[in-house]
Amino acid sequence: MKRLHFDYTMQIHYSEPVSTCHYTIKCIPPDTDRQRLEKTEITLSAKEDPGRSRDSFGNQILYGRVEGDHTDFSFHIAGDVSVNRTACESKGKEAMLGLFRYPHGLAVPGEELAAYYRTLKLTGSAYEKGAALMHRLYQDYAYEKNVTDIHTTAEEAWRLGRGVCQDYAHIMIALARLEGIPARYVCGMLVGEGYSHAWAELLCENGWYAFDPTNNLVVTDSHIKLGVGRDAGDCEINRGVMHGGGIQTQQISVSVTEKG
Amino acid sequence: MGIISVEQTVRLLWLGRYTERVYTTLRLYYSSYDTMIDEGKNEGENAYARFCQMIDIPDIYGSKEVFKEKYPFDEENPDSIFSNLNRAYDNAIMLREEIGSEALSYIQLAIYAMNKAKISRAPFIELQRVMDNILAFWGIADDNIDSEQTRNIIKTGKRIERLDLYARLGVGRKELYREICRLEPRVARSGIRYDAEKIKYMKELVEKPEIDYYKVVHEAETIL
């Protein structure tokens, strides 16, 4: 077991005043079979305390509105999480599993991804197939920043041949579902990385196994999970709707360190 | 519900303003049109240009024939009577449950009458119906709307518009003074925040030997 300390800060600056803004933040690590949240500290630039809720995937939500002209919005969430080397997470509610079997949102395969899938000829157990998928993807897809964005679909990212962790995860999910393996998208953080991270979980024999295709590794105790869903859209870390604001600039800093 | 939103307040006010604008400009158009019938018999008359000047709208018409058609009926022209009636309808249609279907129907009937007047060779007969319907609307609004606040907001709009138009027209001191006095209790009972000082100031302006009509217009427009 490791104890990890995390720190997530987002700062948004608007070139013109915003009169009202609404926000939804999904950035609190859930308790799972693998991780336990030990303490958190949440600071928001909003005066009023946020409302708290959970979405249908169990992700925790902070939400609210900021009234009155403002040009900055920020939130900061920090805390400690203990992480086990547990192999997998339990299956969860049976009735929800179907959600992860069908193409959805950004993780919908097109012709080229389907053609690639046919070349894979996966064999063995679901776990073996998942591991093989991850290795192949790591080999056949290139990491490159700033060529895709948060709206890029699995098919588009695949055609491009390069992308970032979100694209790796979407492609892996789309392929796993083609193989008939339920797969879900995970948004989280990783020790030593300055950004949020994303990977995939596949439902193999007795539970959800987490694969990180960007790094070609099975997730153990260096990853902190923040949110889960069918694709990136289900677990976006923040959403804002505002009146006014002009041009916005956004700064995110993330750090995860191991505590002694 | 007992309270009324900003959006609803604005709609009620403008419903009052636009119905008044249609009513008063129609009355002026009547007398001006009557003069125009005789025009051409004597040289140098130009009733329509005087009319534009009087009600303070740009003269974009060029001739009395164009004016007679475009000023009342051209829906593309934002200053036309029809456009103002359409704006009244735009507000009224958003208020059915507040003012009631009966009251709303008179605005609708005014629109139908306006459409008939537009294609008529003797538009006065149908324009009279437009006026009748607006008067009926005011009657039913007064009689049938339960909420006193709602009634008073519509009337406040109507009174502001009347004062505004009369000041632009440069009517006599007595008439203008009377309109200020009629606005005063309405706006007080409307529940809307307003600047009571402006009522006082307008009264002072009207009592001066030379009335600065544009100042009165400005004060009326900014009272809320």
Binding site: H22, T24, G51, S53, D55, S56, F57, I61, Y63, G64, R65, E94, A95, M96, G98, L99, R101, Y102, G229, R230, D234, R239, V241 | M1, G2, I3, I4, S5, V6, E7, Q8, T9, D90, I93, M94, R96, E97, E98, G100, S101, L104, S105, Q108, L109, Y112, G191, I192, R193
Partner: protein, 439 residues
């Protein structure tokens, strides 16, 4: 059987409807136009006994559909028990993951259901479509009845029929039943919506306030109406006439400017009723339609009283075979389309078109349903002084309050075009009052 004097007053009734602004909006070449909804004075008359049968069937159907919706967004027993394949849930465009685990107040999902029926030449009624999202149309027969009574009182003096102007009371009762405390409002996307007349008329008749999204706000997990001076009034029920997608930019489409940010979060906490509940699209999908009789057996353990039109799902091999062999007598419908769009008749296709369509069917078997073409019982409409037979359907309204309530009337829509089967108001056509006899 009834006094035909009413028919002489068709024009008067239509004039009155115009006076009260009974219109619907349409977009033609990107500009908004308001059109009158032409009224035909010959009523559709349904005998007391016959309607009693429809009523029982409609109650049963809507109860089953409500149970289905509750089940789908929680345990999905009907899927687990193999009655409805998972494909028809998760691959349906109407399914909304956001509704998983969310329990609407009093567990009512479809408060107002519009069930479209047609009558065949054999006098048998068939359900064509269930509308469980934002069905519209009740206001038209309601106000038409009022105007008919004014235009021809004698027609109504000696006719024993159910008064359909009680729709507002039924609706009020339905809204009050699920209200979580506070006022009830009707939320409209605005006057440029096709059914804006209905929104405003139902607001007037039920005494609910008509509001736009900008007049409401969320504060501390509750929903409020914002007064001119900043005062707040709690809202306990929203009869929303805007679609799920646009309801809440923070939970659904972020581009929506007509919705209310976080209203869905309030709903999730049980602090406001949304009428109808979000996510109902999964149950009025044309693919799911096929399963409604099975649902009735599954949830209620009863035999369905109302018939579906005979329907085949190319998704099943056996049905695909049938569709290919009988292509010419079938009508094919795209499950994702509505309003009369995406409907093609096998007999009207050329050989090449047929082959192409069958290829499409094989590629996307879940996308289409095939139905036998029903031999409609035409009903008479006035064409000048004459009567001519035309195709018509009936939209029945079922409201779910403390018990299911069937409105003793309905919207009868007809097609003006003698060859057309499509009766939607958005594609031309008019409407009739529906009389349910009380004796």
């Amino acid at each position: 059987m009834y006094n035909y004097e009413l028919l002489e007053h068709t024009d008067t009734v239509n004039e009155l409807l115009a006076r009260y602004g009974v219109k619907f909006g349409i977009y033609k070449n990107n500009t908004f136009k308001e059109q009158l909804f032409p009224f035909d004075a010959i009523p559709r008359i349904i005998e007391k006994q016959e309607f009693a049968g429809l009523e029982a069937g409609l109650k049963q159907r809507v109860q089953a559909l409500n149970l289905f919706l509750r089940d789908i967004y929680s345990d999905k027993k009907i899927v687990k028990d193999g009655v409805v394949p998972e494909d028809f849930i998760f691959a349906s465009s109407g399914y909304m993951a956001e509704c998983e685990g969310v329990i609407p107040p009093k567990e009512v999902c479809s408060h107002i259901s519009g069930i479209d029926l047609v009558q065949g030449k054999d006098r048998q009624w068939y359900v064509l479509e269930d509308n469980l999202r934002v069905p519209s149309g009740a206001s038209y027969p309601m106000i038409a009845r009022e105007m008919c009574r004014r235009s021809s009182p004698s027609t109504f003096e000696n006719t024993l029929l159910e008064d359909n102007r009680n729709y507002a009371q039924l609706l009020r009762r339905t809204m009050d039943y699920v209200n979580t405390g506070g006022h009830t409002v009707i939320l409209t996307p605005g006057r440029y919506n096709a059914a804006y007349f209905e929104h405003s008329y139902l607001a007037e008749k039920t005494g609910a306030h008509l509001v736009s999204g900008a007049e409401l706000k969320v504060k501390e997990d509750k929903l409020y109406y914002v007064g001119y001076d900043g005062r707040l009034e709690r809202i306990g029920a929203v009869y929303r006439r805007i679609s799920d997608e646009y309801l809440d930019p923070m939970n659904f489409n972020p581009e929506s400017v007509i919705g209310i940010p976080h209203i869905y979060d309030v709903f999730r906490k049980g602090n406001v009723a949304l009428i109808n509940a979000p996510g109902n699209g999964v149950a009025d999908d044309k693919g799911i339609y096929y399963f409604v009789p099975k649902m009735i057996r599954y949830y209620l353990d009863e035999e369905p009283i109302l018939q579906n039109a005979p329907t085949y799902l190319p998704f099943y091999k056996k049905d695909m075979q049938y569709v290919r062999e009988n292509f010419d007598r079938l009508v094919l419908k795209d499950v994702a389309e509505a309003g009369g769009y995406g409907v093609v008749f096998g007999e009207k296709m050329s050989k090449g078109q047929k082959e192409e369509f069958i290829r499409l069917l094989k590629r996307e078997p879940r996308r289409f349903i095939a139905q036998e073409v029903i031999d409609f019982l035409d009903i008479d409409i006035l064409d000048g002084k004459q009567t001519v037979p035309r195709k018509a359907d009936l939209r029945a309204f079922v409201l779910m309050a403390d018990e299911p309530l069937v409105w003793k009337s309905g919207l009868t829509r007809f097609s003006r075009n003698p060859d057309s089967f499509i009766v939607n108001s958005s594609q031309g056509g008019g409407f009739k009052d529906t009389w349910v006899l009380s004796q």
